[in-house]
Symmetry: D3
Subunit: 238 residues, 6 copies
């Protein structure tokens, strides 16, 4: 089946990202069980037995590697075909290995633009990912309140200014590109910044539709410096 093949391509990247969730070791102390599915979406969340095999396979791998299954997988599985399109696109944008954006940069764009769109799920989950990738435990909280006075580098600020212009559907001009180029980004980076912003413009709206709720694990991920000893224990426990 074609759909399985698509997943074969994108899974490795999904898993790579999901695995990084585990670095938020303290999440073990927080919540051992997800809230019942009916609380995470306004729409029915399918039982695994009713989902296509490729989607179940993906979910199980994600959960076993990442430690928990982000609710967006559950919520969007209500529409399996759209689920596949959504995560294929997501992988192209968020997990690519080339270009001038770091993983932390990508997450910061998601946080800043999703705050503008008042999207609870995306802000909470992607600020967690930003804390982990950036190893800066407070920067995303600052950006959530006001990116204009957050402790950003000039490069990060220019990146978010561009992302916010795209987020607001401002008419993009050469001046916008020039501001990016002044801090070292090129036009392909501009496309990356914009495509991420655009994808989450979509994602934020799906979250509003479904009233998608973030997993409790996300709230605290990446906030505390890891205790070396505790980490070892966790690794053993796997």
């Amino acid at each position: 089946m074609a759909s399985n093949l698509v997943w074969k391509l994108c899974r490795p990247i999904v898993f790579r990202q999901l695995a990084s969730l585990r670095s938020g070791a303290e999440i073990r102390n927080f919540s051992s069980s997800d809230p019942p599915p009916e609380n995470i979406s306004r729409y029915p969340v399918p039982y695994k037995k009713d989902l296509p095999h490729d989607i179940v396979d993906l979910m199980e791998e994600v959960e076993s590697k990442g430690g928990f299954l982000p609710n967006v997988f559950k919520v969007l599985s209500h529409r399996p075909a759209e689920f596949r399109a959504f995560f294929s696109y997501y992988n192209e944008l968020m997990n690519k290995e080339t270009g001038g954006l770091t993983k932390a940069d990508r997450e910061l764009i998601v946080v800043a633009t999703s705050v503008h769109n008042k999207c609870l799920y995306c802000v909470v989950s992607h600020s967690a990912l930003h804390r982990i990738y950036s190893k800066k435990p407070t920067l995303s909280d600052q950006v959530i309140v006001n990116f204009e006075n957050a402790e950003l580098s000039a490069r990060e600020r220019a990146m978010l200014d561009f992302a916010m212009a795209v987020c607001r559907c401002d008419t993009i001009t050469e001046q916008h590109f020039q501001s990016l180029e002044d801090v070292g980004f090129d036009r392909e980076d501009a496309w990356d910044i914009s495509a991420i912003t655009a994808f989450f413009a979509m994602s934020n709206r799906l979250a509003h539709l479904t009233d998608m709720r973030p997993n409790l694990e996300f709230y605290n991920m990446g906030r505390m410096p890891r205790d070396k000893n505790k980490d070892k224990g966790n690794v053993k426990g796997e």
Copy 2:
């Protein structure tokens, strides 16, 4: 290759839609040649010879069946992997055969929300599609100026009110769903309306990034009642 397989799945639907473009017979009088590629995007538009075969195949089929190749295909081919994800998703949303939304409904949602986002490409191209599907040559022009006093049915008005709430990232409440249900839509229709709105929230922003220009053919498509004789002539001329 997986990517080819995806296209095998989605092509029939793409073609079905593109074929409908031909019903705008008067476009033959308008422009026989596309503007040079450099005028349709701020980013380089690849030569066919540099594009992956699956994308070229698709483009050629679309062009031969629809009479011209919408510029969005050319502009987004700058990023082949994202191109595939974009059009896979597009097909799931715009060409599905089930649910309460007609093709004209889907296009009307795109027009109304893309106007809000000031997206030239999407407004011009999808108002053309709306004229063709709806056989109402002036309704999309009305919606472009002000959907609130356009000649809409109560059902269409509720549909656009919901779409605009999603477009603006309003917090969606049960009241929003109730307003849809009052005119006969169900929750799956609400998802369709929202997913289309969300997808074009993304698409509009990509068009702003690239300064994507609509094909001249779109401006006049579906405006004039078709001349039976001329139509025959056109069919002959194919």
Copy 3:
């Protein structure tokens, strides 16, 4: 009667403008009869027999020369004294022969500012006039969606920037005038731009009050290149 005399002064110009409507030859194919009066305004549209002679005379001349009577004449005749004041003012602004603004410029100002005000009647009717005067069949459609990325000259852009500042009641400063002068406009042109914008600020609001509907003829006027042979026929018929 004074009112007749005023009309004697302004009629020639009105007719000159209305006559230009005929150049949109394809409108003959579209609609042979106006919608019934009750559909074009929220207020009663008077029967001709109940209107003052000077207004009837004007309407008949306009209709015979232009091919159809724009609905604004019918709708505003509900208040004959205001009708006379409105069209006297209109003529001073839109039909003057002096100054740096072309007829197409004037119509473009009306289109851009009326879109901001979401005025269906003025956008549809004056984008038709712009297409005819400018012989650019797509520029007004672009301005309707987003004047910021329409294919405007620097001169047109500065003109619309100034008009939009007046339209929004921004506080006008010397800098605004300087931007006009940079592209060759003088202070009298600034007055013309502003007075047109101001007049349509009024006109747009009257259209909202009355729910004034555009004649169907306007939607397609000026969109298609004229057929030489048909044109000849029209010229004969004049």
Copy 4:
């Protein structure tokens, strides 16, 4: 000449209104001479000797009867033809003797909507007229700050709510008319409210263009209870 005839028709009404300015008796204490013309407009104010006779005649009558010449007459005389159209229209709307709106109502509409448009000239001059017509020396000051908590009757509030909807170019619906009818206005009153609002939407923008400055006399007119003896003198002089 037609233009003289128009003025013959509208002068009596202009004078009637201007005469009422004199009832603000305290203005005599304030300023005996207008600021030099160059301070009241960004555009040249013509010398009387350069103006058409009909406009000079009008200005002199206004000044002799009203005690001073409102600057709008001077500023707009820069364009005599537009001057005539402007004041003809003004008279139709502000001085009509029929319908459900009092003179104070009309001025209150001008004040509330001109504040929204941040128009110094119209707010200062028409709040003066409101104080005189209404004999309420503080109500316009309240409306200038916030019409929502001003000491308005339910009728006045509904009137201003409707005017503000027109002022903002809201799409007017049957519900708007119903709210007026609930307090006793009919559809013709709705037209009057809207036409005044629309006319000052134009007027406010002309004032912004010209940076029109109010006569000093307006600031204090109608604020103080009149001194009976002084009043008698004024009555004699009329």
Copy 5:
């Protein structure tokens, strides 16, 4: 009691300010009695006999020296502890003798920012104080309508631009400070401008809560040039 001691410190300054209210001599002609307390606040206004002695003492001194008791004293006495905190803070900000801001400057800041917040009480009372301190009887009326085209010095304009940025919760940057320094203000002045703006951000909201109504005396204070003879009479009466 500590509260008495606080008042001993701040009273002299309060009285100094209140005394200046008397310079608006014409207020005697206007209203001899306050509206009944129930009309000045949505909350109960305590009887003097029920108020703490320190608050009654203050009120009586204010009234005897200033000629009338501003309603804010009555309205906020509903909460005596908050009353003390409010007026202590007020005195620190509005009556300090040091720094680059004049008393008129301080009042102008209050007027401009309170208009933005649509606060009837603060606009009416502090525009009165501005007229008295500045001896400019019309400037505050101009600022109320539109501070951007009021007859302000460059220094006043920069001051209000900064205040409005603080009022709107803009993110304050070095550029904001630079604009103040360009016209001669230093960083301590910037603090003063901001603290006044911030205090009235609070005060405006308390006025909205309580629907606080201005004393009638404020509307006309400082508008008229003082009559020398009448002034003497007033001085005698003290």
Copy 6:
């Protein structure tokens, strides 16, 4: 000195609140030293030796009891007199023992309104206090992104709706009070909600002026369930 006496009154309450900060036991792991003073404010932060004794005494008590000194104490000590007024007022509003608002309610109001004002310091510090008082570790994060779909009770939602109306300077009407009364609040609670909102309207703006930075301790306070053993230790220390 009066100032000392004021502090004698308000200190016990300040300390009671500050002590509660200590319950966030995990903060010990985070940062043992404050950032240097120059990083917490745009204005100079005084050395202790240069501050009035009453302020130093207060600071030392707060630090010893609470575990760290919130930066707002350091930043505002730049202006000792305003410091005293600020904290006196703060205590009246935030630490009162009467009325229908819990401590968690008060903090939630601060969080929701300070987010609207994009105030980094107040959002970060008061969301910490909310987590501690409410024992709900994620609710403030939800409110920060979008209070409209946070997991609030009907009572909390009505409270925040009222607070946001005050925060935005909406004109408050009886309907606003009715909505509070529908969930059990009375008019004195409405005053409390509004006064807190109003005070932080001020506080947010002072934080913007000074670019006040939150102590690192605040970011994580109250997020983790407390370790019983560690807690015992803390209790001993109290």
